[in-house]
Amino acid sequence: MGVGIEVRGLNAWYGKNLSLKSIDMTMPANHVTAVIGPSGCGKSTFVRCLNRMHETIPEARAEGTVRVGEMDVYGSGADPVEVRRRIGMVFQKPNPFPTMSIYGNVAAGLKLNGFRNRRQMDQLVERSLRLAALWDEVKDHLHKKSGASLSGGQQQRLCIARALAVEPEVLLMDEPASALDPISTSKIEELIFQLKQHYTVVIVTHNMQQAARVAELTGFFLMGSLIEFDKTEKIFTAPADKRTEDYVTGRFG
């Protein structure tokens, strides 16, 4: 089952620029939380801080408290490698490993983490592909086709399967469908809806209809600050803050 995420006083910098200003946010377990806002508001930065991907950019750093379950992500004993194993991420543009087969892609995380048992790996690969709703389409080509030979939507589902294979507690998705066609997008959205039974999902999206479709909770970011965080329904129908209302009604962004 998934775990909850608690963020307190998160600040993030790119060099000298403060791009996230003291974010406080609680994302409950087994829920889908959407993060919305105009370009440059810091939503991608926020999500990348949750699994310590933000600091892989040169001169970028983050400070604050991020608790995923009982794990203190920025704590003194925390190892970024371990953090990233336990928090999965799916990126905007599908990025399967082109030199590996479909099986190889899904198993990549397992192999890295020392998994050796071949039969167990087979089972886990199948499970992940089923969870990602890709199994039926690729089960006959697992070892023969390369990860890059699939269509865009399939590639993204492959990336989701790859992320799920290492059994994360949380799944972060940074605009996962923005590079896909409408049909693939709806498949991904269906998938997210089902995934929340097992995982906690945080999804960044610039598409407000998407947020309305898949997320129970939504946080609105603007210029590095969290303006409003509430049930999705409330954000879209009766937002408390005028800036939120301006954004969701399309007056800017």
């Binding site: 190892d79 490698v81 371990e82 194993r85 397992l110 983490n113 020392g114 998994f115 167990q120 089972q123 886990l124 499970r127 294979a165 290492v166 059994e167």
Partner: protein
């Protein structure tokens, strides 16, 4: 259903941590290892070379074997003559080909020329020497600075051509169209505007080619051939600095070894100096704000 529970996927194992540190150490070690011969060569050049450079060395010709003293003046001047000839051949042909490839050559023949220039670039320098021997030395029936210049000039062409082509292609088409729009002919546009905009890069390319052939010895072994005495006639065998270094280095004479180091120091200073000189002049002459 099977789950890869936390206990199967262990937290970061010692083996993985060691591998990570080991890789960092290896990469760092190789980087340092690479710098060792570089530093060693320069240090030895300076230590062994500086001692042997004196006024005599720079102004006198070699003394007969066994006698102390003498210098490499004829080799330094000879190199100058040979490099002048090679530049006169290599730079115009190189720039001309580069202009062709960029401005006229987006077609099959252009691809062919590009391919042959790449081929020429990869030919070992000694083989170019054989060709120059066949083409110039044999009909003339004697060695000459001219044949050496031909060999080195041929070697300069691909570098100059490629640099010219790349630099010209970087000039935005809007610049050319602005010139056409003013009624300037194509040839004048190409020379006065497009080429001038790209001039810094083209000059750098020429300089790189020059620096590369300045140190070449192999093609000169049987073209310029070398000379113990002064010779300013390009139609006669001529001494060259790299050649002289080679002959002295493999000789059994202590005195000649000393002079070989001195010659090597002069050679490396010549090469580094020409690179630096061009860098300075092109950056000073550049239009503020131009591409």
């Amino acid at each position: 259903m099977l789950r890869a529970s936390q206990s199967t996927l262990r937290p970061l194992s010692l083996r993985r941590r060691l591998a990570n540190h080991g890789a960092t150490f290896f990469a760092l070690a190789t980087s340092i290892l690479v710098l060792v011969p570089l530093i060693a060569i320069f240090v030895y050049l300076v230590i062994k070379g500086v001692g042997a450079i004196n006024w005599d060395f720079l102004t006198k010709t070699p003394k007969p074997v066994g006698e102390a003293g003498g210098g490499m003046a004829n080799a330094i001047v000879g190199s100058g003559i040979i490099l002048l000839i090679s530049s006169l051949i290599g730079i115009p042909l190189g720039i001309g080909s580069g202009i062709y490839l960029a401005e006229y050559g987006r077609n099959r023949f252009g691809d062919l020329v590009r391919f042959t220039a790449d081929v020429l670039n990869g030919v070992p320098s000694i083989v170019i020497g054989i060709a120059a021997y066949s083409l110039v030395v044999v009909p003339q029936r004697h060695f000459s600075a001219l044949s050496g210049g031909v060999a080195l000039g041929i070697m300069m062409i691909p570098t100059v051509a490629r640099a010219t082509e790349e630099m010209l292609l970087m000039v935005p088409n809007a610049v050319r169209e602005a010139a056409f729009g003013l009624g300037i002919s194509k040839w004048r546009t190409t020379l006065s505007i497009t080429l001038r905009t790209a001039s810094a890069g083209v000059i750098t390319g020429c300089m790189l080619a020059f620096a590369r052939v300045a140190g070449e010895t192999a093609p000169l072994l049987f073209t310029a051939f070398g000379n113990q005495f002064w010779n300013l006639n390009p139609n006669q065998p001529t001494a060259a600095l790299p050649l002289q270094i080679f002959v002295y280095a493999i000789s059994p004479f202590e005195e000649w070894h000393r002079q070989a180091w001195a010659g090597a120091l002069i050679l490396i200073l010549m090469i580094v100096g020409s690179v630096a000189a061009v860098r300075i002049t092109t950056s000073r002459g550049r239009l503020k704000g131009a591409a």
